[in-house]
């Protein structure tokens, strides 16, 4: 006999939110309460010792936040999740769960600029070293692994270069070295790729993007597969007695839940970057339509990319959906329903053409976010990546003429009408501009 397996769309609507047992409320109630009463002193003691489940204080857990976490775990195919106040907080917490001063991590170089600075500046100041490995060859990641390396890190779709990672190969090489693979799945969302299905152990993402989809909240979430054995000798934070919990060994006591229990009970507890229940409640509404929204995002992105590809003002497009992308084969494997709706292109005329293009747009919003239902545009060299040096920027796949689009859900004809306005302005400042109609 087998349990019925519910599909992705059903779980997007239902996982984590059965009717409220107390009131029968069908929608998830919003538990805006900082704290929760104990049944007895013994109950309090059991909760603090992690021997029973329940609510103590919303910095550590909250019923509305927990419903969002359970739904994310279900959609990513993990055994559980811990939500955080932002994607960067989630990522930092996931790393602090397995690494401390003196440790090292290996990451692909084509990462989000905020991640690069977190790794190379803030983590470095905390004594955790990072090697950023250029290129797309998983073997190069392997060559960077040292004795004190604790994890291998990559993004499903790199930001902003649009490079698709070979997740299966990355997972295999990490596991051969006794290490877990951490994947930032922000640009795909679980609707388009579930890295755990390809061997990833920990999935982090900014829920601010497609998960929210409405540009309303800042949020992050960590999902774990429950498959990695932390007792291999390389992860003492999880597999030796913890002074934070009277000598408890998380791996021994919680087995496959060890990572998630430590991420919540030690890292979230001590770092304090908790997700607001209000934000979690909004995210639950958003997740209900995630599969439908992602389908529409992908359709619009294909239309926009095809339009730009035909234009003389456009020097190049990096989008793994396009047949001539070097990442087409990887995207076909890992992102069969579409490589998201965020991609970059280069304008002839360089930096000045890029500026004129953005300033001429009426409908596309010029801002530093992606994954909104509204279409967004930005010039990374002057915004998200401006704190990086030239070499770091180029290693991350960013060039001065690069424009990043996050294609939203508007009528595609309106998006193209507005892009025409931008291209006209770009053409006016670029000496090359004799283009078509």
């Amino acid at each position: 006999m087998q349990d019925h397996r519910f599909g992705f769309r059903t779980r997007a609507l239902h996982a984590g939110t059965p009717p409220d047992p107390t009131t029968g409320a069908r929608a998830m109630p919003l538990y805006l309460s900082s704290s929760f009463v104990f049944d007895s002193t013994e109950h309090a003691a059991e909760l603090f010792a992690l021997r029973t489940y329940g609510n103590i204080y919303s910095r550590i857990g909250n019923p509305t936040v927990a419903a969002f976490e359970e739904r994310m775990a279900s959609l990513e195919g993990g055994i559980g999740a811990v939500a955080f106040a932002s994607g960067l907080a989630a990522q930092l917490a996931a790393i602090l769960c397995v690494a401390q001063a003196g440790d090292h991590l290996v990451a692909s170089a084509g990462l989000y600029g905020g991640t690069v600075t977190q790794f190379t500046v803030t983590l470095k100041r905390m004594g955790i070293d990072c090697t950023l490995v250029p290129g797309d060859d998983p073997a190069a990641l392997r060559a960077a692994i040292r004795d004190n390396t604790k994890l291998v890190y990559t993004e499903t779709i790199g930001n902003p270069a649009g490079n698709a990672a070979d997740l299966e190969a990355c997972a295999a090489l990490a596991h051969e070295c006794g290490l877990p693979l951490f994947v930032d799945n922000t640009f795909a969302s679980p609707a388009l790729c579930r890295p755990i299905e390809w061997g990833a152990d920990v999935v982090v993402q900014s829920a601010t993007k497609f998960i929210s989809g409405h540009g309303t909240v800042i949020a992050g979430v960590v999902v774990e597969s429950g498959r990695f054995d932390w007792r291999g000798g390389k992860h003492p934070l999880l597999a030796t007695p913890s002074p934070g919990y009277h000598g408890m060994n998380f791996a021994e006591t919680f087995d496959e839940y060890a990572f998630l229990m430590r991420a919540r009970a030690e890292v979230l507890r001590d770092v304090g970057a908790a997700l607001s229940p209000m934000s979690a409640w909004l995210l639950l509404q958003s997740l209900e339509t995630l599969p439908l929204r992602m389908k529409a995002h992908v359709e619009n992105a294909r239309v926009v990319a095809e339009f730009l590809r035909g234009r003389e003002e456009v020097a190049w497009i990096n989008f793994a959906e396009l047949d001539d992308s070097p990442y087409r084969a990887l995207a076909a494997k890992y992102l069969p329903d579409g490589a998201g709706s965020i991609f970059t292109f280069g304008l002839r005329g360089g930096r000045e053409a890029g500026r004129a293009f953005i300033e001429a747009l009426e409908l596309w919003s010029h801002l530093a976010n992606v994954g909104d239902g509204k279409s967004l545009v930005i010039h990374p060299a002057s915004t998200t990546h401006q704190q990086l040096g030239d070499d770091e920027m180029r290693a991350g796949g960013v060039s001065p003429e690069m424009i990043r689009l996050s294609v939203g859900l508007e009528d595609p004809a309106d998006l193209i009408w507005d892009l025409e306005n931008g291209l006209r302005a770009a053409r006016a400042v670029a000496s090359v501009g004799t283009a078509a109609p």
């Binding site: 059903t10 059965p18 009717p19 021997r51 029973t52 489940y53 609510n55 559980g80 009277h246």
Partner: protein, 165 residues
């Protein structure tokens, strides 16, 4: 019968009241203590340690063997096993001998022999599951911990058990 589905495990826990934890440890850092303590404080189950090396855990009298427990209390509804793999077949024989209707093997310990013995004797058998986790799946504990319960329903399900008072 080997219970493999969520609904089978839910029905098992719903009809069970007494649990004998074979190998329950008084050491508060041990997994067996976590399971014992969880079941005890949730209040739904009457949980008893089976451990010849200890007299009692948290005020619950321990028995040296399943036979000693059954002589005083009758057969437990569930025999929850925390023993090394090599000892699980013997525990299965003891569970059969006292007439227990169910034997529950925690993660990674059951041998084929132990499972086959219990199954052939007509016991309900649960393999490679944690009794605490499965209880928490149905009492809402997993969900409160941000862990995937795997449960999808639009029925209003009353809490699986009342909190301890």
């Amino acid at each position: 019968m080997i219970l493999e589905t969520v609904s089978q495990r839910r029905a098992l826990l719903a009809r069970s009241r007494t649990v004998a934890v074979v190998g329950a440890s008084p050491d508060p850092t041990r997994p067996s203590y976590f399971v014992f303590s969880y079941l005890r404080t949730k209040g739904r189950f009457e949980v008893t340690p089976i451990n010849p090396a200890t007299a009692a855990i948290d005020g619950r009298k321990a028995y040296p063997s399943l036979a000693a427990y059954a002589a005083e209390r009758g057969a437990p509804d569930i025999v929850d096993v925390f023993r090394r793999p090599a000892e699980t077949a013997q525990v299965a024989r003891e569970a059969i001998a006292v007439g227990a209707p169910c034997i529950w093997f925690q993660y990674g310990i059951a041998t084929g022999e132990a499972v086959a013995l219990a199954d052939a004797a007509g016991l309900d058998v649960v393999v490679d599951r944690c009794l605490k986790v499965e209880s928490a799946r149905f009492d809402g504990g997993l969900a409160l911990g941000g862990l995937d319960s795997g449960l999808i329903t639009s029925k209003r399900v009353r809490p699986f058990d009342a909190p301890a008072r």
